[in-house]
């Protein structure tokens, strides 16, 4: 802990010395009396205000948090001796101070202690504000010597970073990938193999498992027949999050919606043992190949957390998406569909034989009202062009739905599933 002279100490000492000198100059005791009083205060303050050696640390700070869910950590202050009233600034970024146990909350990022003996432990409860990156610290402890002559200050050395994940909606209905891969999962494969879903009967062949013999049918045909089954496999789901919107406008909320939906989808598909991959399109085009497990989901979420509104370089994006989203992946594109290049990219995926579906975010609800005839006309032309893009994609058999801001995320997924089912029946 370091002690710096406070403004009052400088004022008392300087004015005190000036008072004594002035008394000598004018030959009157009054200024000397004032000076003596001020100097006495300064001396008493300095003598009683030595800076004790101390330590300040934060314990049990989690590395991840979920938006809206409070989290606790411990602040530990050790002092050799004691100090009076102290204020600890937690240096919270992206977090709101909710409650403090063992101290008094001051403002949105600090707490105060009446006094600190040898050791003080304070439990702090904070709540993440929005998703993204948050941090605690470095902590700063401020205290004053008894008469406030010295400003005592102690700074913690570390900053604890926390990744705040978006609140994930529970999705009841999900689109299932048409093609499955080789890993065990919840999807019923179209192939034959060991599984629980009955497929068909066939005559026994050498090497068949005797447990698969259907004795009832075999007794009727006087030959051995076996049950064939569909194996339960998992699928690959590739999420493409397009965040090409103008930063600093209302359109930025579209990125927020995309990220929230993608996080919910990642969770829901992971729960069903599917492999999840992600491609984020902003200023940089980054991707994570499909994978499984909690560690992999965290990687996906961390990439989602770093999505920023930005201009996409479409040539690079197309190459990256086609490379990352290969068969048998099911690709779910979440896009505001602001750029015709996005439609081109979706076409390229379709041409490559990838099962691609599009959730187009409703942009018009977040746009400010167009003022004036010219703007109104421009807005109408833009809306028609966007509609034409949707029609073109839809005409090529690419399931595409518009997700309105008032609808829960289940709605576009159910619509996509319906769309795909209808298309399959027609086809």
């Amino acid at each position: 802990m370091t002690g710096q002279p406070s403004p009052r100490l400088r004022a008392y000492v300087t004015a005190g010395v000036v008072g004594l000198i002035a008394a000598l100059a004018v030959g009157e005791p009054s200024p000397a009396l004032i000076g003596a009083v001020l100097l006495t205060l300064a001396i008493v303050g300095i003598v009683g205000g030595a800076a004790p050696s101390s330590e300040l640390s934060v314990l049990d700070v989690p590395t991840t948090a979920v938006e809206g869910r409070p989290l606790d950590f411990l602040v530990w202050i050790a002092v050799e001796g004691s100090i009076g009233r102290a204020y600890v600034d937690l240096g919270l970024v992206g977090l709101d101070l909710v409650d403090v146990v063992g101290a008094r909350k001051v403002g949105r990022s600090a707490f105060s202690l009446m006094s600190i003996g040898a050791l003080a432990e304070v439990t702090v409860k904070v709540e993440p504000v929005g998703w993204g990156r948050a941090s605690v610290g470095p902590l700063e402890l401020h205290a004053e010597s008894p008469l406030g002559m010295l400003d005592l200050r102690l700074q913690g050395s570390t900053r604890h970073d926390i990744v705040t994940l978006p609140e994930e909606a529970t999705l009841r209905k999900l689109m299932s990938p048409i093609e499955t891969n080789l890993h065990v999962g919840d999807l019923i494969s179209t192939h034959r193999g060991p599984g629980s879903e009955f497929a068909e009967l066939r005559p026994f062949r050498h090497g068949d498992d005797p447990r698969s013999v259907n004795w009832r049918v075999s007794s009727r045909h006087e030959a051995l027949w076996v049950n064939e089954r569909h194996p339960e496999k998992n699928g690959d789901v590739m999420l493409v999050v397009d965040s090409q919107v103008e930063a600093g406008t209302e359109l930025q909320s579209l990125v927020d919606r995309s990220v929230r939906l993608a996080a919910s989808l990642a969770r829901a598909y992971s729960k069903r043992h599917n492999r999840i991959g992600i491609v984020t399109l902003d200023g940089l085009c980054r991707w994570v190949y499909p994978g499984m497990g909690e560690h992999h989901r965290r990687r996906v979420l961390e990439q989602l957390m770093s999505v920023m509104p930005g201009e996409v370089i479409w040539e690079a994006a197309e190459r990256a998406v086609v490379r990352a989203a290969r068969r048998p992946s099911m690709v779910l594109v979440i896009t505001p569909l602001m750029d015709p290049s996005m439609a081109g990219l979706i076409h390229a995926l379709k041409r490559a034989g990838v099962d691609v579906s599009v959730i187009a975010l409703d942009v018009e609800s977040v746009l400010p009202l167009a003022a004036g005839q010219a703007r109104l006309l421009g807005r109408r032309i833009w809306a028609m062009e966007r509609e034409r893009l949707c029609d073109r994609l839809s005409g090529e058999g690419i399931p595409i739905v518009s997700w309105r801001s008032i609808d829960p995320p289940d709605v576009p997924l159910a619509q996509l599933e319906t769309w795909r089912g209808r298309w399959r029946r027609l086809g």
């Binding site: 370091t2 002690g3 002279p5 406070s6 403004p7 009052r8 400088r10 004022a11 008392y12 000492v13 300087t14 004015a15 005190g16 010395v17 000036v18 008072g19 004594l20 000198i21 002035a22 008394a23 000598l24 100059a25 004018v26 030959g27 009157e28 005791p29 009054s30 200024p31 000397a32 009396l33 004032i34 000076g35 003596a36 009083v37 001020l38 100097l39 006495t40 205060l41 300064a42 001396i43 300095i46 800076a51 009233r85 204020y87 600034d89 001051v106 403002g107 600090a110 105060s112 700063e140 401020h142 004053e144 008469l147 406030g148 010295l150 400003d151």
Partner: protein
């Protein structure tokens, strides 16, 4: 921030009151001028976050008191009240700086400032009574001068050692 502003305003108000406490009609215009200069420096310091403003104001009021004693005017307000107001002004101005840079309890800070000011006023009155009882004015003033020198040197040495610059 609101409490910091209030504290600064109170400090300036005390300064103004102290500066105009001695009526100019008594021929003490220079005294008032020194006091008001101190207030102006204090206000500047508080506005622009310069700690030196507090020091300058305190020095101005001590100088004002010294100049006033040389004139044939009645010392007004009495010495103990001057000390009380100077200390209170410094305390409030310092509290304003403190509240700007870190969180704090304004009530506690003001309470401490008031207590310090009262203690200083009592101490000043005790000293006045002591001085009035002693008829060795020249000796006392010289003694005070020497004490000032010793105390100032002691303080500078102490701050130097505390700052860590002395190695």
């Amino acid at each position: 921030m609101a409490s910091a502003r209030l504290s600064a305003l109170a400090a300036v108000a005390i300064g103004v009151w102290l500066a105009v406490a001695l009526p100019v009609s008594q021929g003490a215009g220079i005294v008032t001028l020194i006091g008001l200069s101190g207030v102006a420096l204090l206000a500047l310091g508080l506005t622009f976050g310069l700690h030196g403003g507090v020091t300058a104001a305190a020095v101005a009021f001590v100088t004002r008191s010294a100049v006033a004693t040389t004139m044939s005017v009645e010392v007004h307000p009495p010495l103990w009240a001057q000390v009380l107001l100077i200390v209170l002004m410094v305390e409030l101005a310092s509290a304003s700086f403190a509240l700007r840079s870190r969180p704090g309890d304004p009530i506690l800070i003001v309470a401490r400032g008031l207590t310090t000011a009262l203690v200083a006023a009592v101490l000043a009155q005790v000293l006045v009574l002591l001085v009035e009882g002693v008829e060795a004015r020249g000796t006392l003033v010289s003694l005070a001068g020497v004490t000032a020198g010793v105390l100032a040197a002691g303080w500078v040495t102490r701050v130097w050692h505390r700052s860590g610059l002395s190695g």
